[in-house]
């Protein structure tokens, strides 16, 4: 009995502990899965035209995030607890690379906790649509990143990463659904990308 009361108390206390002392963390609808299409446009001051790629993405709370790039080249990228792998090879990098894992983790899970450590988050609402502004907290990260903006209705629809060197990466998400279960083929695709 005492054990049950203790567990109940812990459960009651848990949310404030998880959020920490900011207390005003905006909340998104949380999902176990997300599947959809993306278009990525990357613009750099020196480039004459943006680098554009398209494909599908798959998010699963247990497995991480899989990008299946279809155009202009075919490639698989997986972001999970073990890091970032592209076509079976680990990818390491400088710049804002360290922030991308928590960023995408939060983006599709709807839990902004991991993001909150690297960024200060503000939220604006306009009817159904919401908009998150992320500014890097850490000086090192700020040197690589100016700002990240996420817009959405229920789930995120658009993500803009503004880099300090004037580069800008825009991701648009369409046809987003939240299936109860992932296809076996998609689950296997996770493993192949790793």
């Amino acid at each position: 009995m005492r054990g049950a009361i203790l567990i109940a108390l812990l459960l009651l206390c848990a949310p404030p502990v998880a959020i920490g002392d900011t207390g005003e963390l905006p909340e998104l609808v949380q999902h176990e899965t997300a599947v959809g299409r993306f278009v990525q446009r990357r613009q750099l001051p020196e480039l004459e035209r943006p680098i554009v790629s398209r494909g599908r993405f798959v998010y699963s709370a247990g497995r991480g995030l899989l990008w299946l790039i279809e155009e202009p080249v075919e490639s698989r990228l997986v972001i999970d607890a073990e890091g970032v792998h592209q076509d079976g090879k680990p990818v390491r990098g400088g710049g804002a690379f360290a922030a991308i894992r928590p960023l995408f983790e939060s983006l599709f899970s709807g839990d902004l906790g991991p993001l909150e450590r690297d960024f200060s988050v503000t939220r604006e609402d306009a009817g159904e649509r919401w908009r998150l502004e992320l500014s890097p907290r850490d000086g090192q990260l700020a040197r690589a990143l100016d700002r990240i903006t996420i817009e959405g209705v229920d789930t995120p629809l658009r993500l803009v990463i503004a880099a300090s060197d004037g580069g800008r990466t825009e991701l648009e998400f369409t046809d987003v659904t939240h299936p109860e279960r992932l296809d076996e083929a998609l689950i296997q695709a996770f493993d192949r990308a790793r």
Partner: protein, 769 residues
């Protein structure tokens, strides 16, 4: 001789003693080295394992960044919790005042500094694996790079305009990789995964602490509190680092010095007050002990500029021996009609002999090239000389015949067995023990470490393989560039050993400073990409304009600039710089540190096949030295016994001489057997104890055999008191936590007891005749 003249001669000697004491104190104060007088580092005990100054220098250089460092791994079920726990741990450690610097976050600023400084040299800087791929399959390589640029990882991973192929970024990733390649960064905290958990890495540099006479050094207190905190938070915590080991050794030594010193003093006090019925001899004994310990301390400071902790613990036992001389003098004062001069005349020959034999025994120890043995020898001999001088110079002024003490009675053993029966009995009983003796010549066994600390050290070694400052490849060449080229030629061999499992990993200077030749090769590879048009095509695919492409191609076609050692060293991370030992004229050297090489047999074979490459395993070399010295010392001991036999046969006659020698000889046998039976550590350090058994055994036997008939009762009393206190003082060492000190006690306790009992047996026999 008129009494007045005697008195003034005594006063003159006492004044001489006082002046000598003042001189020694003054010299010690002048030579005082400050806070660093007490060494707790194991390496201070090691003899030079050979190989010359360069190897010792390399070892020092590699160890320097870690001298004050403690490493803490705090583990939780997931990486985020681990990172949070890492930050919390760092906060806790910072709040204590024992650390100078506590780091939970990866120092990205240092990495950025290196990245900026080396950028101008980027065309020559390509990671070896990448260079190989670029040479063998340039098209596939470019395809991969292109795919990356279309993914979100490419978008966030470094500047496309500054480093379009990501080659420089790849070089930095390799060059600046930490010891754990598998570490990930979560919220700026480095986290490793293993043993089913995620661990945050926190490093804390301890403030340089002198030896503080405290029951618990602050660092140990912090360690305990932090372990308790982790337990409360249900986190896993492992900690290691040289400062923790030193603090632990200091703590256990502090307890042992107090216990051993305290109990010996108490025993001496009881004996003296009990026997002489006056506090005066006790007060005098305290002066003699003070002179002994002070003299030893001063000797070690003057000769070595300080001492090792182990020396100090052994030094505490000087109390037990140094007071012996005073005992002989006190005992003699119990004779009827005693005067200070007659007393001195009586005991001086025996005292001279005693000091002479002990000094010779211990000084022969100092001949061994073992810093620890030397220090102990010098400490002991100086201590003995100081207390001996105190007895001879000062005591005639201080000692008065006690008024009420009972005169000693003649008490040789009435039922003593004859020596001819004792000898075979001792030999038969000792033989199995001697056969059980198992030498363990391992320097690592000398130190006591709490189980928790050594278990944690193993766990951390597994999760976070760290290069060992005592085991590395030393590469030498006659110029800096030749050295770098030699290291580069070694790389494929080392990679082959990694594939075969003989090696987990290695870090070489060439990771961050390729040779000029290699930089030119790398530049050629890039130029090849430019000439074949592939580079331009890649940039065009990404949307670069023609002007930008031309500018980049021109920069690659232009040779240089090349990264020179001086420039690289200027910005290198501390742990990297430590590997470069530089050039002495045309002798250039650098170390390649390795992880997971075990005892390094494979590396030793590899080094044997290569010019200018040497596998250094200092621990193994030291252990080999310990083995040699153990054998050598055992031989010397036997030789010493033979010489003593010869000398005593000449002076005392063969029969008496042999009877005297039988005492230390049998005592040595008993000592060895006791070590064998008890399973105590048997190494070169036990030989030191055996030398003491030899010296003291001869003393006891000689005092019996040389005492004139009138002086026998007081001689027996003096020997008895000396033996009891010495046995007590050394016997207590058995309970030491430090294996080497405990083994010292285990050798001395039975040896000295046997020497005393055997001296009684032969003494009684001699007197009956």
């Amino acid at each position: 001789m008129p009494a007045d003249e005697n008195l003034s001669a005594r006063r003159l000697r006492a004044t001489l003693w006082l002046l000598a004491v003042i001189a020694v104190i003054a010299a010690t104060i002048v030579a005082w080295p400050g806070a660093g007088w007490l060494r707790t580092d194991v390496r201070a005990l090691l003899p030079d394992p050979g190989g010359g100054a360069r190897i010792a220098e390399a070892s020092r250089s590699l160890a320097a960044p870690f001298e004050q460092r403690t490493v803490w791994l705090v583990g939780a079920s997931d990486a985020e919790r681990a990172a949070r726990a890492g930050r919390a741990l760092a906060e806790r450690l910072r709040a204590t005042d024992v650390f100078e610097e506590v780091e939970a976050e990866v120092d990205r600023a240092a990495y950025e500094r290196v990245a900026r400084a080396l950028y101008p040299y980027r065309h020559g800087l390509i990671a070896p694996d990448t260079a190989q791929r670029l040479e063998q399959a340039p098209a596939a390589f470019l395809r991969e790079r292109l795919a990356l640029q279309y993914s979100v990882a490419g978008a966030a991973g470094g500047s496309l305009t500054d480093d379009p192929l990501g080659l420089y970024n790849g070089f930095l990733q390799e060059a600046l990789a930490g010891p754990a390649r598998t570490a990930t960064t979560i919220d700026s905290v480095a986290v490793v995964e293993g043993r089913g958990r995620h661990y945050a890495i926190v490093t804390a540099d301890a403030r340089a602490a002198g030896f503080e006479a405290r029951a618990e050094p602050p660092l140990i207190g912090v360690w305990r509190d932090t372990l308790a905190w982790a337990e409360d938070e249900s986190l896993t915590l492992h900690a290691t680092g040289a400062p923790l080991y030193s603090a632990w050794a200091a703590q256990s030594a502090h307890g042992e010095i107090s216990l051993i010193g305290g109990v010996s003093l108490a025993a001496i006090a009881l004996l003296l007050i009990g026997r002489f019925r006056s506090p005066r001899p006790l007060a005098i004994a305290v002066i003699v002990i003070g002179a002994g310990v002070g003299g030893g301390f001063a000797g070690a400071v003057l000769a070595f500029g300080g001492m090792h902790l182990i020396t100090l613990v052994f030094g505490a036992t000087v109390i037990g021996v140094s007071v012996d001389y005073a005992f002989h003098y006190f005992s003699d004062s119990l004779r009827p009609g005693w005067t200070p001069e007659a007393g001195l005349r009586h005991v001086l020959p025996a005292l001279r002999l005693a000091l002479g034999t002990s000094a010779i025994a211990f000084l022969s120890l100092a001949l061994a090239p073992f810093p620890a043995l030397r220090e102990v020898a010098v400490f002991t001999v100086c201590g003995l000389v100081a207390s001996w001088s105190t007895v001879v110079l000062l005591l005639p002024v201080l000692v008065r015949p006690p008024a009420s003490a009972p005169a000693p009675r003649h008490w040789p053993l009435r039922f003593a067995p004859r020596l001819v029966f004792v000898i075979p009995a001792v030999l038969v009983l000792s033989l199995p023990g001697i056969l059980l003796l198992e030498p363990r010549d391992d320097i690592r066994l000398l130190y006591a470490t709490p189980e928790r600390l050594s278990a944690d050290d193993d766990v951390i070694g597994e999760l976070l393989p760290r290069p060992d400052a005592n085991r590395f490849l030393l590469v030498r060449a006659d110029s800096g560039q030749a050295l770098l080229e030699r290291q580069e030629r070694l790389r494929p061999e080392l990679e082959r050993l990694m594939d075969s499992g003989a090696l987990d990993g290695f870090r070489a200077v060439t990771d961050w400073l390729p040779s000029l030749e290699r930089q030119r090769d790398n530049e050629r590879l890039l130029r090849g990409l430019v000439e074949s048009g592939r580079f331009g095509e890649y940039l065009r695919d990404l949307g670069f304009g023609e002007a930008g492409i031309e500018r980049r191609e021109a920069a690659i076609r232009e040779p240089g600039p090349y990264l020179a050692p001086a420039t690289a060293l200027d910005v290198a991370l501390e742990r990297h710089r430590a590997q470069w030992l530089g050039c002495n004229e045309d002798d250039c050297a650098a170390a390649i540190v390795v992880t997971g090489a075990g005892e390094g047999d494979a590396l030793e074979r590899l080094a044997a096949e290569q010019d200018g490459v040497r596998w250094v395993n200092r621990i193994a070399a030291v252990n080999e030295g310990m083995r040699e010295h153990r054998r050598l010392s055992l031989g010397l001991l036997a030789l010493a016994l033979l010489i003593v036999s010869a000398v005593l046969s000449v002076t005392l006659g063969v029969a008496r001489g042999m009877r005297v020698v039988a005492v230390p000889a049998l005592a040595l046998v008993v000592s060895l057997a006791a070590v064998g039976y008890s399973g105590a550590l048997f190494s070169v350090f036990n030989l030191m104890a055996l030398l003491l058994v030899l010296g003291v055994g001869i003393d006891y036997a000689l005092f019996y055999h040389c005492a004139p008939s009138a002086g026998r009762p007081t001689a027996a009393l003096g020997i008895g008191m000396a033996a009891l206190t010495t046995i007590l003082a050394f016997g207590l060492l058995v309970f030491s936590d430090t294996p080497v000190i405990s083994a010292f006690g285990m050798t001395l306790l039975p040896g000295l007891t046997a020497a005393w009992l055997l001296a009684l047996v032969t003494g009684s026999e001699a007197w009956r005749e």
